[in-house]
């Protein structure tokens, strides 16, 4: 294994490590077999594990996730791919009504240890029906765990935790990060779900970000540092469980908060983060909170329009400058 791995390769590597370890892990999805997935995130799995563990499905999002659920209820650990996160809407019943409720409404009789993986987010000019950041959709549903890694090492470590989880996990792989590279983590690297990471220390302001917004926040922090403003950047890594203790601890050091999220402002996860801060950490604040989020429109096609809608380094820098002067 090379020292450096791409985010894209890390997806297949993370799955493969678990498939080697646990024979109940099986994969299903559209074009994931010989084709290796439309984003090439399952390359090599069919070759190593064969057609009995890596299954090509018809274009049937309900059957993919519904069958994964039935298999998970009966002793398997399926990893289902929904090609683009926008298509989660086609199997929304399973994510909103079936998978997250069955354990509860059976009084704890049934567990659903499955992973639904999906390519999330914009920035690649795929137009409105292939670009939305949809992690906030899942965030409204009690009973789903939500992982959204920002680095190749986290992809591998969080994939391990997600597959080993006895609870259902929706795993958002960000399209704009697929080509990024990072260090290959050691064997048996596991990143526990619900542990945020402070990826840059700073004393002046806390930037809370997820997935593709982590590098945006880090770049913004570099720009701000040149102006004498030190930003601490927290990569949430998961939305459920949500690591508010790391956020509150960071706020204890900085007293200023900006959330940076790609999903639309309307109903975005940043609203929950800031509401918990208002509720439990108000005394820690020396300034109002700010949310940098997607505009409340479908994602447009042209680069210039996409940039208008999605948070950028400049937008984050501007939001922080305003706060620092507060």
């Amino acid at each position: 294994m090379a020292d450096v791995i791409s985010y894209r390769e890390a997806v297949a590597e993370g799955i493969a490590r678990e498939m080697r370890r646990d024979p109940t892990v099986v994969c299903l999805g559209e074009d994931i077999g010989e084709a290796g997935g439309v984003f090439k995130t399952t390359v090599g799995l069919r070759k190593e594990f064969g057609p009995e563990r890596v299954w090509d499905t018809p274009i049937s999002e309900q059957a993919i996730v519904g069958a994964a659920m039935g298999a998970a209820m009966t002793g398997m650990r399926p990893v289902a791919e929904i090609m683009f996160s926008d298509f989660l809407a086609c199997c929304w019943d399973y994510l909103a009504n079936e998978i997250p409720k069955v354990r509860y409404m059976t009084g704890g009789q049934v567990t659903v240890p499955l992973v639904v993986r999906t390519a999330n987010g914009g920035g690649l000019g795929f137009g409105a029906q292939h670009s939305q950041a949809t992690e906030n959709w899942a965030f409204t549903i009690p009973g789903l765990k939500i992982a959204a890694p920002a680095t190749p090492a986290d992809v591998i470590g969080m994939m391990a935790a997600a597959i080993r989880s006895d609870d259902p996990v929706v795993f958002f792989e960000h399209k704009a990060l697929l080509a990024t590279k990072g260090a290959t983590p050691p064997p048996d690297h596991v990143v526990e779900l619900g542990r945020a990471a402070v990826v840059r220390a700073g004393a002046d302001v806390t930037l809370v970000a997820l997935a593709s917004m982590v590098p945006v926040a880090l770049k913004a922090a570099d720009v701000l540092a040149r102006e004498g403003i030190e930003a601490e950047v927290v990569d949430l890594r998961c939305l459920v469980p949500l690591d508010m203790s790391t956020v509150l601890a960071s706020l204890g050091r900085t007293s200023r908060l900006v959330t940076v999220e790609e999903n639309p402002y309307q109903g975005g996860w940043g609203a929950t983060v800031v509401s918990v801060v208002a509720d439990e950490g108000f005394a820690l604040l020396d300034a109002p909170v700010r949310r940098v989020a997607g505009e409340c429109v479908p994602l447009p096609f042209a680069d210039a329009l996409e940039e208008e809608v999605i948070p950028t380094v400049d937008k984050v820098v501007a939001a922080v400058r305003g706060l620092a002067a507060y």
Binding site: V26, E52, W55, T57, P58, S60, E61, Q62, A63, V65, G66, A67, A68, M69, G70, A71, A72, M73, T74, G75, M76, P78, D93, Y94, N97, E98, P100, V102, R103, Y104, M105, T106, G107, G108, Q109, V110, T111, P113, P142, G143, S165, D166, D167, G194, R195, V240, P241, L242, D243, M244, S245, V276
Partner: protein, 325 residues
């Protein structure tokens, strides 16, 4: 079925019928809240199918699923306690009438989103095949479910993957209040769709427990042998309206009368007598069923209410419901 098997099936149907009657009465007494979807009239499908299955096979049912839960090992007491919101209920009073589940006996749930469980049954069958257990899965659903996308996705997936799953439609001629014939392009909402997926489809008398048992045994054997899924359409009729709120006045009186004459318990009794089993022996089975259900009602009523703190358990595998670390 030999006479002993048929008598056992009859007694099971009698227990189910009486439990449903009890559910109805308890609802009128205000002891069951929400709603119930009684399956009176459908008993032969659940009992006949169960008689053809292995104890470790999987079953997925709908909100009209009291009969399936009981045919697959849930006791009348557990079911009634669940309906009456007791801590002793099948699902600790978190499921209710529409969500009876007994995982320990392979009764993997009752689902109230029409058609949603068909892909799950396919998935359970896929899992059985991957684990090499020779179990099969059965999904029971209504005629209304045949026009849902999940029905078609599940059938196609099961067919192309040759999964050991049986799809059993309980065609009671109506969805909620609308005749299925008014909203379906083919006369047999289930069986007519089977050729589109290249799988066997068959119509069976859903009020005849022996006919159901034989058909399910045949298709189950085929599925277990690796020959893939099948679609069985069992013709039946519900004795009551869709749910507690529905007096079912939209059904022609003549139609209701004709179907009530084909009560599955009467049909089974007739078969027993024809096989030489005495009326007295059949009556004894009825008496045992009555006694079992009476006891169940009393025991269920005596069950404690759930601890309100239980509302915050069982979301996650660790038992709790916390969404934050």
């Amino acid at each position: 079925m030999d006479p002993a098997e048929l008598l056992a099936a009859y007694e099971q149907m009698a227990v189910i019928r009486r439990t449903e009657k009890a559910a109805h009465d308890l609802f009128l007494q205000g002891l069951v809240k929400g709603t119930t979807h009684l399956a009176a009239g459908h008993e032969a499908i659940a009992v006949g199918a169960s008689a053809a299955l292995r104890p470790d096979d999987y079953v997925f049912a709908t909100y009209r699923g009291h009969h399936h839960a009981m045919a697959r090992g849930a006791t009348p007491e557990e079911c009634l306690a669940e309906l009456m919101s007791r801590a002793t209920g099948l699902c600790k009073a978190k499921g209710g009438s529409m969500h009876l589940t007994k995982a320990a006996t392979g009764m993997l749930g009752s689902y109230a989103i029409v058609g949603a469980h068909l892909p799950m049954a396919a998935g359970a069958a896929w899992s059985a095949r991957l684990r090499g257990t020779e179990q099969i899965a059965v999904a029971f659903f209504g005629d209304g479910a045949t026009n849902i996308g999940a029905f078609h996705e599940a059938l196609n997936l099961a067919a192309v993957w040759k999964l050991p799953v049986l799809f059993v439609c309980e065609n009671n001629l109506y969805m909620e209040y609308t005749p299925i014939a008014d909203v379906t392009a083919v006369p047999r909402p289930a069986a007519d769709r089977a050729p589109a997926y290249g799988i066997p489809g068959e119509v069976v008398d859903g009020n005849d427990v022996v006919a159901v048992q034989e058909a399910v045994a045949r298709f189950a054997g085929r599925a277990r042998a690796g020959d893939g899924p099948a679609l069985l359409e069992a013709e039946t009729y519900r004795h009551f309206g869709h749910s507690r709120a529905d007096p079912a006045t939209y059904r022609p009186a003549e139609e209701v009368e004709r179907w009530l004459k084909r009560d599955p318990l009467d049909l089974a009794r007739g078969r027993l007598v024809a096989m030489g089993v005495s009326q007295a022996v059949v009556s004894e089975a009825d008496d045992r069923a009555t006694a079992v259900v009476q006891k169940a009602v009393e025991a269920a009523k005596a069950g404690p209410a759930p601890d309100p703190r239980e509302a915050l358990s069982d979301v996650w595998a660790d038992g709790g419901a916390a969404w934050r670390t």
